[in-house]
């Protein structure tokens, strides 16, 4: 207790160096929490966006459908069974038909995936309603995402010649008119894809009442079907790749965490070494006054530890309002990030859990104590008579 009081007194009376250390450490704490919060927020937002705009509460896949093999698309259409149709009518599910096709923008050829979606659907977060009112047009209305627009060079109002093969295996062609380019959060719904009305696509494919997959509403539990043509894929399965991707990215985040913490600890270590060097005479005096080398050693370690505690306190003082503000207002992402392969919105909202604060705080305190203690070990070997002379 006595040493703690002394350590407190020494810190309180010490010069700007200790306070600079405190500020530097508190920056590190806030930066670590913010970085981790950004990462967690990003992961959660990506997942949410993926669920909202693509995965839903799970999907029924036509048994031949393999999203990674476009050659299966031609064989991946089946008539929707009655039990699933009932759920679609209730608004609990929405059918999507997927067809591989080729488009010819600006005299080039490009393979695309044409998705037929019900313009009245409210199951996934896609602006399908903009496809309404084009039933009598001689062209096919379609919208694309901004990533697709960038890759293909298509603009709103453009017509693009499209070639596909219907379920009988016959090639057919027509013009798709791009009626809108939208920002689609999930890249899986954007790149090399064109969204058109489901009815139009069914007509193009001569596949009345058929679909490739049926997306369930987010909060709808698994629906059973007696049809063996349809296989249910739950959220875990559909998000497996994303979760693995997030895990991989977490390694980078951990690396950044270690770098930040390392820099902060290096500053403390350096300050402690310098402090012991500069305060040798004081150390000698303390020993002459009746302290043991070990207690002087502990005193210096406590001083280091208190710097850690004070930095946490400082971080709470200015960091909490800042972190709270960022969590509420979010951080507007630059276009480059929006174009990435992750499904993120325009604004990223950091997410901090209590565990993050407690763990980071504890790691900081413990590591500060260790790096404060390590240089003080030389005090135990210090000759008091030499120390008294500042040697």
């Amino acid at each position: 207790m006595f040493l703690l009081k002394l350590a407190f007194r020494n810190i309180a009376h010490s010069g700007i160096r200790a306070w600079l250390n405190i500020i530097a450490l508190s920056f590190a704490f806030v930066a670590i929490v913010l970085t981790e919060g950004l990462y967690d927020g990003l992961s959660e937002q990506v997942k949410d966006a993926e669920i909202d705009s693509n995965v839903g509460g799970g999907q029924f896949w036509q048994k031949n459908f393999d999203p990674y093999d476009p050659f299966t698309f031609d064989m991946s259409h089946s008539v929707i069974p009655a039990d699933l149709n009932k759920e679609i009518e209730k608004g609990n599910a929405s059918p999507v038909m997927i067809v591989s096709a080729s488009i010819f923008p600006e005299h080039h050829i490009q393979s695309v995936r044409i998705n037929g979606i019900d313009p009245d659907q409210k199951v996934v977060n896609l602006p399908a309603a903009i496809l309404k009112g084009y039933s009598d047009t001689d062209y096919i209305p379609g919208f694309i995402g901004s990533r697709m627009a960038k890759n293909s060079g298509l603009k709103t109002g453009d017509y693009v010649s499209t070639r596909w093969r219907n379920i009988k295996g016959t090639f057919d062609a027509g013009d798709i008119r791009i009626i809108k380019i939208i920002d689609i959060a999930a890249p899986l719904n954007d790149r090399e894809q064109i969204w058109i009305p489901l009815d139009k696509l069914r007509k193009m494919m001569q596949a009345t009442g058929q679909a490739t997959l049926i997306i369930l509403k987010k909060n709808v539990d698994k629906i059973n079907t007696i049809s063996s043509d349809w296989v249910f894929k739950d959220q875990d399965f559909l998000l497996k790749d994303l979760n693995e991707n997030i895990k991989r990215k977490k390694i980078y985040s951990t690396f950044f965490y270690i770098i930040l913490l390392g820099i902060a600890l290096l500053a403390v270590f350096d300050a402690q070494v310098l402090s012991i060097f500069k305060r040798r005479k004081e150390i000698g005096t303390l020993i002459a006054l009746g302290m043991t080398n070990w207690s002087v050693n502990l005193l210096f370690a406590f001083e280091g530890c208190m710097i850690g505690l004070f930095s946490l306190f400082a971080a709470v003082l200015y960091g909490f309002p800042l972190l709270y503000y960022l969590a509420k207002k979010g951080i507007v992402l630059p276009t480059m990030v929006q174009q990435s392969q992750f499904a993120i919105g325009l604004t990223l909202y950091p997410k901090y859990g209590l565990k993050l604060f407690i763990m980071t705080g504890m790691i900081l305190i413990v590591s500060v104590f260790i790096v404060s203690f390590l240089p003080t070990r030389r005090i135990t070997k210090l000759n008091p008579t030499a120390a008294l002379k500042g040697k």
Binding site: L6, H13, E282, T285, A288, P384, T385
Partner: protein
Amino acid sequence: MNNSCIIKINGLVKDYPMGKKFFRALNEINLSVNTGEFCGIVGPSGSGKTTLLNIVGALDNPSDGDAIVMDKNVNDLNPKEAAKLRNESIGFIFQTYNLLPVYSVFENVEFPLLLLKKNKEERKELVMRALEWVGITDKANSRPNQLSGGESQRVAVARAMVKSPTIVIADEPTANLDAANSHNILGTMLRLNNELKTTFLFATHDEKVIGYLRRKVVLNDGRIVDDVKVN
């Protein structure tokens, strides 16, 4: 006054390693100091004065021989016991004052009492009494960097005396002071020696200090060459 022997040194040797050889700083020192003495170890620089005081103050160990301070052989003390001896019984005064720079005068003088775990009231009373002894109560809240050399040394004397130690070890206490301040400090120490019967052991080659000594032990090249009582 009990004139019992408080410091007993027999055949004391101190060697310092110098490369592959050793430098003998103290050579077969035999010395006894009684309670209440105002004794000075006198000699030129490098004669071994500070080394001898450091051993008596349990800050250093002899290479050979015995240094018995208050019935405790310094050589046998572990670091904790040595610290206890210094804490309870020995006060130090240094040439460069060695005040703790971040503490006020009051806190500097209070420090030995904190180590002795005295309560707050007692600490305050003892600190103010010590500051009165050296006539510096008005500087209680000052920081060491606001004090002159003479004032700093008076604070150091107060810090050494505040716990009423049995022995005060003063290593060149006036080396950094002008004549007026030196006489002032020495007068204060002599008065405290008379009033409190504290044993003072100086290391000095300052003629002003030598004039105040009641016993002069002359050291040269690590050997005692003279030991005279002065009236």
